[in-house]
């Protein structure tokens, strides 16, 4: 796991503290009842803070799984 993924997993585990790393990788809105709108907004705030990525809340409906978030951040993240 590279540093980027490690940081992203850490963001997810801060919002969903009960999940293992494997469960985080498989996490999605459909499979995880705790992934509600409050969790989604918190997750976006964490990602903005951690990666300096400006996430449009209008994109939230598309960020429905770990891999979707991962792809979004990779595309918009300028490595610091």
């Amino acid at each position: 796991m590279d540093n980027f993924e490690e940081r992203l997993v850490h963001c997810f585990s801060s919002v969903f503290p009960g999940l293992s790393e494997g469960q985080i990788r498989d996490a999605s809105v459909d499979s995880l009842p705790e992934w509600n709108s409050l969790a989604a907004v918190t997750l976006v705030a964490l990602i903005q803070e951690e990666f300096g990525v400006q996430v449009s809340l209008a994109d939230l409906p598309n960020l429905v799984s770990f891999s979707a978030v991962q792809n979004y951040v990779r595309h918009n993240h300028v490595a610091s």
Binding site: H10, C11, S14, P17, T42, A45, E49, L57
Partner: protein, 589 residues
């Protein structure tokens, strides 16, 4: 050694803090966060900041309904809360002052916006004051920028905007005047959260949370610091040469030292002025200097000094190590090292004192570094600042001088404590009114260590609840003698039932030792209430040896946890008391 700023907590750190388990048997601390917006990250940051400061408590924060700040405060279940944190923003005063509503920004709308904001301010103020009669309240006035609804260019303040700010300012003055309301300092917030980086337009419009993360973090940090106010330090010990004044007294002479603009030594004048301010607010100030004592005496005769020698006690000047001076000052003041700050321009002297007293906060006087000097003053204001100045604060230094005189006189050749006290013309005033706003009594319970029955502290809510109990009593004792007034120096909290009293809290200021005020307090209780027995919730602590010694003189050691003293035991051992007594208020009035 010196820490002047605080880094804002990140959201990921805040989440980690609030996910930590609570300690076993942690007492709850229940705060209500009242705001008109979605509390979201502010609630997270506030929970985390409070948990950092109240590590042994179970911090719980509840919130109210979106868009209804006044209603949230009015509906507050006071009995289920320990504190109210009220966060006011412009849109709470009138929705048109926010950006989520489209109520109109036409010129014709502005007078009505201001009028409705003024009415809402009055409603919120009334609701907050009502809560503050039962709970401590921490409040912030609007922190976000006003939207561009005024007709002047942004660089020009509009009359309407100024009227709004005037109304908010007037409301803040009223709120802060209440003894149980603390207003968040806008100037300090400006320093750590720049005004241009506070509003998050996207978050406000799409999720109803208007703050950028840094601003939410800064607000939470300041609120938590208000809720858990650090105990103010008690004393400052200062060096003289190149600190209280510019120059070396032994080399430059009395006329060669300076603190004025024309000698480029104005920082020292500001420092003197600042110390005089601290002293006038009850902070103990003393001198530790490597100098010729006679020369120091002459220097303090200069009439242009901004702090006179009457405000500095003791002035300890000699050629030995500074730590010796500090030790003598601490003994004279009878305060612990952790309640003291030492200021010196020499890092070597600071290190020597720090090695001898690791608990003392040692701060360098940055004699030619203007920005660092400014930070020094800020730091000193933070560590010595208190919410209110009491009458006792202004008496403190005089009473320490008097105590020194008393110790000297009572230890003198051929003089006994009895004869000394008989001659002291002591008067004790017992006050039996249950005043929840008695800040001095509350402060004594929460800062006294030595004569403290059990070391227990009280939150503001617990203090109010204790006094609300119809079976409880609050007894405070004021003292004065011919050497001066000590003000309010002892507090007892307890209950009286069926010929016996149960004392839960008993503290007495160390300034009042050796005057038999503790004996007098118990004698008054026994006599006034015809008691046969007094029970004490006594517990030895690492620091309450004076209480342990007092009890050991009356009952045989070892002292039990539920200590009882009968009338007979007390009067058999009570030494002669020479105080005149005045009762100042009706019982449980």
């Amino acid at each position: 050694m010196q820490q002047f700023g605080t880094d804002a907590m990140k959201l990921i750190e805040a989440l980690a803090v609030i996910q930590r388990p609570f300690p076993e048997h942690a007492a709850p601390f229940r705060a209500f966060l009242a705001c008109g917006f979605t509390p979201l990250h502010l609630q997270t940051f506030l929970t985390a900041a409070l948990r950092e400061r109240l590590a042994m408590m179970r911090v719980e924060i509840s919130t109210g309904l979106f868009g209804d700040l006044p209603g949230n405060i009015e509906r507050l279940p006071i009995a289920e809360c320990d504190a109210l944190v009220a966060v006011m923003e412009w849109q709470d005063l009138d929705p048109r002052l926010g950006i989520r509503n489209l109520g109109g920004w036409r010129v014709a709308d502005l007078p009505d916006i201001i009028h409705s904001a003024e009415r809402m301010l009055a409603r919120v103020e009334k609701a907050i004051c009502h809560v503050a009669n039962s709970l401590p309240v921490y409040v912030s006035l609007p922190t976000l920028p006003l939207p561009p609804l005024f007709t002047t260019p942004g660089r020009q303040a509009s009359l309407h905007e100024l009227r709004l700010r005037q109304a908010v300012g007037a409301s803040a003055v009223s709120l802060a005047a209440h003894p149980r309301i603390r207003a968040l300092n806008a100037q300090r917030l400006d320093e750590i959260s720049p005004a241009c980086s506070r509003l998050d337009v996207q978050s406000e419009l799409l999720s109803g949370f208007p703050y950028q993360l840094n601003h939410a973090s800064a607000m939470a940090e300041l609120f938590a610091a208000l809720v858990r106010d650090a105990t103010p330090k008690k004393g400052l010990i200062t060096d003289l040469d190149d600190t209280l004044w510019a120059g070396i007294l032994g080399e430059d002479g009395v006329d060669g030292i300076s603190w004025h603009l024309d000698r480029q030594s104005h920082l020292h004048g500001l420092y003197q002025q600042f110390l005089a301010s601290l002293a006038s607010a009850g902070v103990l100030t003393a001198v530790a200097s490597k100098n010729d004592p006679a020369l120091v005496e002459q220097a303090f005769e200069r009439e242009d000094l901004l702090i006179g020698k009457q405000s500095l006690y003791p002035i300890d000047a000699h050629w030995g190590p500074k730590s010796e001076s500090v030790r003598r000052v601490l003994k004279t003041w009878n305060v612990a090292p952790d309640a003291v700050v030492f200021v010196d321009d020499s890092p070597m002297e600071l290190a020597e004192v720090q090695a001898a007293f690791p608990e003392i906060e040692c701060l360098v006087f940055p004699k030619n570094d203007y920005p660092s000097f400014w930070q020094l003053l800020r730091r000193l204001r933070d560590v010595f600042g208190k919410s209110a100045i009491s009458e006792e604060d202004s008496l403190r230094l005089d009473s320490i001088r008097a105590a020194h005189t008393l110790r000297y006189a009572s230890n003198g050749e051929g003089s006994s404590l009895d004869s000394f006290l008989r001659d002291a013309q002591a008067a004790v005033a017992v006050n039996f009114g249950k005043d929840k706003n008695d800040r001095r009594a509350f402060e004594l319970i929460n800062k006294t260590n030595q004569f403290n029955l059990n070391g227990k502290r009280l939150t503001e809510a617990a203090w109010a609840a204790y006094l609300d109990d119809p079976g409880s009593f609050l007894m405070t004792v004021n003292y004065e003698d011919k050497y001066g007034a000590l003000g309010k120096i002892a507090v007892l909290l307890g209950r009286i039932d069926d010929g016996a009293a149960a004392i839960d809290y008993w503290v007495m200021s160390c300034r009042a030792f050796s005057r038999r005020i503790e004996h007098h307090s118990l004698r008054w209780l026994f006599d006034n209430f015809h008691l046969q027995e007094i029970r004490f919730e006594y517990r030895p602590t690492g620091r309450n040896k004076p209480v342990q010694d007092f009890f050991a003189n009356i009952v045989s050691a070892p002292l039990p946890a539920n200590l009882r003293i009968t009338r007979m035991e007390f009067f058999e051992k009570c030494p002669p008391l020479f105080h005149n007594t005045k009762v100042k208020a009706a019982v449980n009035g």
